[in-house]
């Protein structure tokens, strides 16, 4: 059977001159391939090139080659370590919160109860909100120290109103981004849970496993793959958070919430310093690619190598 199928495939591929068709089907891949090369690889190589130039849009004339001095400048300014640190804190903080809350919600939703489909639908909503909307709504209507809902809530509970974005700028950003990404973690982890056969849990219970043992020895091992997907995809995405910062703190106060993408935006479109912005862009790509390699390995491990042969 399989031999037959293969033979069929071969004959379909071998005489391309069959009926006016003079190209191999692989040519159908070319437009997409070329498009992606033109819009991602070519600009990235230009970014690398720019990163070696002393290039400022406001300074006319030549853009002299300066070697690695843009990189050296970036890596020797202690303030820039704050930017890297911010990027990592934002990513790690969001990851921890979304994994805990998303995991909890996934387990809660993996039980039969009235209105489960509706609750699931409501819970994915925050993932679908545009980042800029999240930022302006949170900044004004929730976190405003005088008129914000949270300040009112804190006062009702006997506390003192807090200027969240000034007092806890990074915490506020982490809260916003976690709010957006918890549904993502929940959805993937819930799908992971749903493929866990009921009889495994039954068997564990019959053997007298307590809920913690049940979680530790049955749920967690089964969850590994879903957890990997959540951790990698979320890390790659949260490393690139921009809209939430742009529309709430603008990277401040000071550089308290400036992450790598926002820093590059400031260098490129605030200072028009193309050389330095490009060098930072290259660093961002390298940082992300280390993670992307793991992600790609993970995804392609689980997807059939393509086709039926």
């Amino acid at each position: 059977m399989t031999a037959q199928v293969q033979a069929q495939t071969m004959t379909a591929q071998a005489p391309p001159a069959q009926r006016g068709f003079r190209f191999s089907p692989s040519a159908l891949i070319l437009p997409a391939l070329l498009y992606l090369i033109l819009t991602t690889q070519v600009p990235f190589f230009i970014t690398i090139y720019y990163s070696f130039l002393n290039y400022n849009l406001t300074i006319p004339g030549d853009h002299p080659f300066v070697g690695f001095s843009n990189y050296a400048g970036l890596l020797s300014d202690p303030q820039n370590f704050r930017v890297i640190l911010n990027t990592l804190v934002l990513t790690a903080g969001t990851l921890i919160i979304t994994l805990v809350l998303g995991g909890l919600l996934a387990m809660l939703l993996n039980r039969p109860f009235v209105g489960r489909a509706l609750v699931r639908t409501i819970l994915i909503s925050s993932f679908l909100v545009m980042p800029v909307v999240t930022a302006v709504v949170w900044k004004n209507m929730l976190l405003n120290p005088v008129f914000g809902f949270l300040s009112w809530l804190v006062t009702q509970l006997g506390g003192v109103p807090v200027d969240w974005l000034a007092a806890h700028p990074m915490g506020s950003i982490i809260a916003m981004v976690s709010w957006e990404w918890t549904p993502f973690a929940m959805l993937i982890l819930l799908t992971g849970l749903q493929s866990l056969p009921d009889d495994q849990i039954e068997a564990a219970r019959l053997d007298g496993a307590n809920p913690w043992q049940e979680f530790r020895h049955i749920v967690l091992p089964h969850w590994t793959q879903a957890l990997e997907v959540v951790i990698l995809l979320e890390t790659i995405s949260v490393l690139q958070v921009y809209g939430e910062i742009y529309a709430s703190t603008s990277g401040g106060p000071g550089v308290a919430t400036t992450n790598l993408p926002y820093f590059i935006y400031q260098k490129a479109f605030g200072e028009y310093n193309i050389g330095v912005a490009s060098a930072a862009g290259v660093i961002a790509v390298v940082l992300t690619n280390v993670l992307a390699v793991f992600m790609l390995r993970l995804i392609s491990r689980n997807v059939s190598s393509g086709g039926h042969a």
Binding site: S126, V133, V137, G281, V303
Partner: protein
């Protein structure tokens, strides 16, 4: 009890877990359900609060203590719509245009990779996906300069070009996964009847992966609609989509909350409804098929 033979020896364990817990279990379950409702409410609250504010007067919108009961008004939507309309049109054109272009380029590629796989197919697929993980900040500087020279800055074609880049890997990857699910026997039968590549594509692959096409299209539209980085850095006014328009509210300190909420509600609701519709496919799309 303890002297009983083996078959009942497991009973204490079972009993410990189920018998005295019948009622306790029910209570525990109800508590967990209440906790679930509560968490769903807390998570939805910011959206709810925004929706409510959209129907309030400006004074009610930033009143302290917050106003919970009020007579809903539609004025904010009326005001918002006048300013909002060009941005809405730009967002629609950019989202639909880029999705269409991504499908025109991506469907033939997905078809070839799924039905005529070669040694290199897997590598090509993985490489295409890898471009999705390329941070936009790694390409924005040259793109800005190229766009400036080609007069593509602040134009819809420029925005569509970049959104297509963003969605093309998704389309290829997802459609490849749907097209590999079509039984090969169907192609085989068609070949016996003398079908060529184009009949296979238009006659079999396309119609049979229609559910996949619609789910993928919904996802692509959501991603393009919600995109912020390229929108903010490549457009200013003539092609500014909703993300730029809403971003302009970032300095409105307690002045136009009701109006802002109305515009935000109009911005968020269409894609939220799309997302609710596509939620079964969401996991597959978001994880690129790694989790189904």
């Amino acid at each position: 009890m303890t002297t009983l033979p083996t078959p009942t020896q497991t009973q204490p364990a079972t009993a410990r877990y189920s018998a005295p817990n019948k009622n306790g279990l029910r209570v525990r379950n109800s508590l967990l359900t209440i906790l679930t409702y509560l968490m769903a409410f807390v998570f939805f609250f910011p959206i709810l609060w925004m929706l409510l504010a959209a129907f309030k007067t400006e004074a009610q919108a930033f009143a302290t203590p917050p106003v919970f009961s009020f007579t809903p008004i539609l004025d904010n939507f009326r005001t918002a719509l006048t300013n909002y309309f060009p941005a809405l049109a730009h967002s629609l054109i950019a989202a639909l245009g880029s999705t269409a272009l991504a499908f025109v380029l991506g469907l033939p590629a997905a078809f070839a990779l799924a039905v005529y796989p070669t040694k290199r197919s897997r590598g090509v697929l993985t490489w295409m996906l890898s471009t999705k993980f390329m941070p936009a900040v790694g390409v924005i500087v040259p793109l800005f300069i190229i766009f400036k020279n080609l007069h593509l800055l602040d134009t819809l074609p420029g925005l569509i070009l970049m959104y297509t880049t963003m969605n093309l890997p998704l389309v290829v990857w997802m459609m490849h996964s749907y097209m590999t699910e079509i039984p090969y026997a169907i192609y085989e039968a068609a070949k016996v009847d003398g079908a060529n590549v184009s009949t296979e594509f238009f006659g079999i692959a396309l119609p049979l992966s229609l559910p996949g096409i619609s789910a993928t299209a919904l996802l692509a539209i959501i991603f393009a609609w919600n995109e912020v980085f390229f929108a903010l850095n490549l457009t200013t006014s003539n092609a500014a989509p909703l993300s730029v328009f809403i971003g302009s509210f970032k300095t409105s300190e307690g002045l136009f909350w009701a109006q802002m909420s109305a515009a935000a509600a109009l911005t968020v609701l269409p894609v939220m409804i799309f997302g609710w519709i596509a939620q079964r496919q969401l996991v597959r799309g978001l994880s690129f098929g790694a989790v189904k």
